[in-house]
Amino acid sequence: MNGDAASTTEVLSVADDASFDADVVLEPIGPAAKSRAAVVWERIEPILVYAGDWLNPILVKETRQALKSFQFTTTFALVLAACWIVTIGGLALIGPSIFYSASGGTLLAWYYAILAFPLIVVVPYSAFRSLTAEREDNTYDLLSITSLRPRQIISGKLGSSIVQMAVYFSAVTPCLAFTYLLRGVDLPTIAVLTVYTFFGSLGLSMAGILLATLSEQRFAQVFVSVALVAGLLWICFWSVFGGYQVIQFSYAFMGGEEFWTTTLALTTAYVTTFTLMFFAAAGTITFSTENRSTPLRLCMLVQQAAWIGWMAFAWIYNGYELGFIFALAAFAAVYWYVMGALLTSERVGMSQRVKRRLPQSFFGRAFLSWLNPGPASGYMFTIANGTSIVLISLLGIAMSQLLASGTPGSLSADELFCLLIVGWGYVVAYLGVGMMAIRLLRRFAVVNTFAAVLIHFLVILAGSGIPTTIQMMSVDLRYEDYSLLQIPNPFWSLTHLVDGGVASEGAILVLVIPAAALCILLLNLRSVVRELQAVRIAPPKRVLQDEAELHPPPAALPQNPWDEPE
């Protein structure tokens, strides 16, 4: 067994030809005779073992596996070989002009193409396969009944991807450094390229893992697998193209204020989306009685705050232009409709486990209940966020009217106001109708999350498709533009408002759509109230006992010099 340490007993050896008398020379063998390296290693090993204990078990296992795997060895060898070929071929082509020409950029583009393939295609696909293979090989069950939490499983898989990336980087990094020596490319360009590629690969690996958690069935795995490879190859192609552009034109945009602002905005979007995907993946593999929804809702809130922040910055930076408020609201409408469709598809009923941690105080129940799992609270959470976007946008419109000094944008304040109110109404109405449809169907059949989301999209598709079909089939209406028959059609109605339809149908839409939305909200209010009535319950006695054993209260310390320690 590995844990068996060699015996450290000191052994004495006797000189070859010496009889055992007083003149015998005794040479110590063992610790005293150990090489300096062995002594140093003996000191380091316990530290490494201790450090290894704090590493994610999946990371440890998968690193061990990867280092022995054929796929990893082959890819690594190919990357190394490709780098060597490019280096030798490049030097041969450049020839003696290497002493005075700046040819680092060209070689960097080649090296980047070599690096992009394993990082953009191989690593994310390996992350996807790593989790799907657990299901195929029947090891997922064994893994899921250990003490590892779902977040540890996901972070372990991500850690394994990072290790793979690090190894690929280690193969290419000397070549990247070499391009700097050849001149024609600066260090910031190389750094930006590698950092963007690293985080791109990490993000794609996260997406791969999320897709793996979602595709439980064999046919879904095959379908997703093919789509993922195609998608990754497409991204790889464009990243190589983009990388080439960066190398060629980095001098034009690097280092400027806009570059760093854009980088910061992209970083915010990346971090919030990555976190959302991480919690979504962890939530998918979490036991169903656990609270899977609240972390996701918090991520959504942070993402919305970041989006508002950046759009407010752009709005101020560009002279309070209304177009940015429109962009804020348009993105938020799509975002909250999609997120609302997911949240309202959650399972009805709260587990005892979740009820043990419900907020108790008045303020907690008033403000945090919307973060509790459940379709109705999800519906209200979506509406609350949508409404806050509308209010912030209205405030923005008012401020634009007061502060804007430049030329007005393509949208007027009235048009934007109409769009905000009508857009809000559509989101509230369609999510409410979808939720009612799901509730109705759940009385007769099992409707899982995927089916529920599908129902939402079918409802909005029906609301848009049926009026459009009727109008197209009608002899009288066929050649007319927008008609009031299209009121249920959010796409046509909103496009009509953007195209100047506010003057003709704006007032009707502003009245009808929010009114319908409020009616639907009222119809759903009963289920909202039912979810809000859930109150915190005490954990079972056995759980309290276990908690006391796991986390015993600290021993009481003496409060003054006269107290006896217990």
């Binding site: 296992k61 003490s147 939490r149």
Partner: protein, 315 residues
Amino acid sequence: MIRTATPQIELRNLHRVFDQTHAVNNVSFEVYAGEVVGYIGPNGAGKTTSMRILATLDEPTAGDAYVDGFSVVEDPDRVRRRLGFMPDYFGTYQNVNVYEYLDFFARSYGLKGRERISAIGEVMEFTQLRALAEKPINGLSKGMKQRLCLGRTMIHNPSVLVLDEPAAGLDPRARIELREMISKLADAGKAILVSSHILTELAEMCDRVAIIEQGRLLAVGSVAEISAGVQVQSTVHVRVLEGAERLQNWLAARDGVSELRTDGTLAVFDYAGDRAAEASLLRAMVESGLPVIEFGAKHKSLEDVFLHVTEGRVQ
């Protein structure tokens, strides 16, 4: 076996429905510390489904199951710390040897440092896998894999073991070794629920059995209790020195005697009664003057009980 007050495993009105199939239908029974309970039933009876629910791999449609007092539905994480589950399949990782496999699961159960090394050592000692520590698990024989699987199941020293068909596909020697291991674990105070198709083996190692068919629990108890409960008959043979005809007439007149066959001075018959009834029968024979020189009773095996209790129906 010392029966503690709280059962280590408790299934309480457990139901599991898959579409039109009621895989587990109102199943309730308990397993106590130090007890080995055999879970038997035909294929598709609901054994694996119940065991998967206990292992927190599936959720009941209604009812609940408890491990050491914790609900598998509400506190799966606490259950997982206390339970070791050995499924009827062996999950293999590529490019992993025996030591690394056990090390991974020890780490996954939160064992650190010396505790982990010691746990792996103990498990390898118990399952006699020490010599194979460096061997890739894909190259292991079926018996070795089963041992490794048992080792993985007990790496975190759980108080409850749920073993689904642990002896399937093993050769006779490996079966005997596995049976010995299970007995040792029970002696160490672990509650063990084990399912198997090899009923003779279960009869030898189990304190009690639970018989399930079509999702319904038909009987729970020791083989003797179930036999008594379902009035499974024992086969009795009596040999007299002389007077075979008188013996035949005497037995034919007795209650509980059926399927009487005679061969000279030997009579073989089925007798519905426990051991005390058999003793009374022998006493009555002697008192009635029959020259009995041989009396023996062969009690029904677990297989007989199983065949009597179940009807071989599948759903």
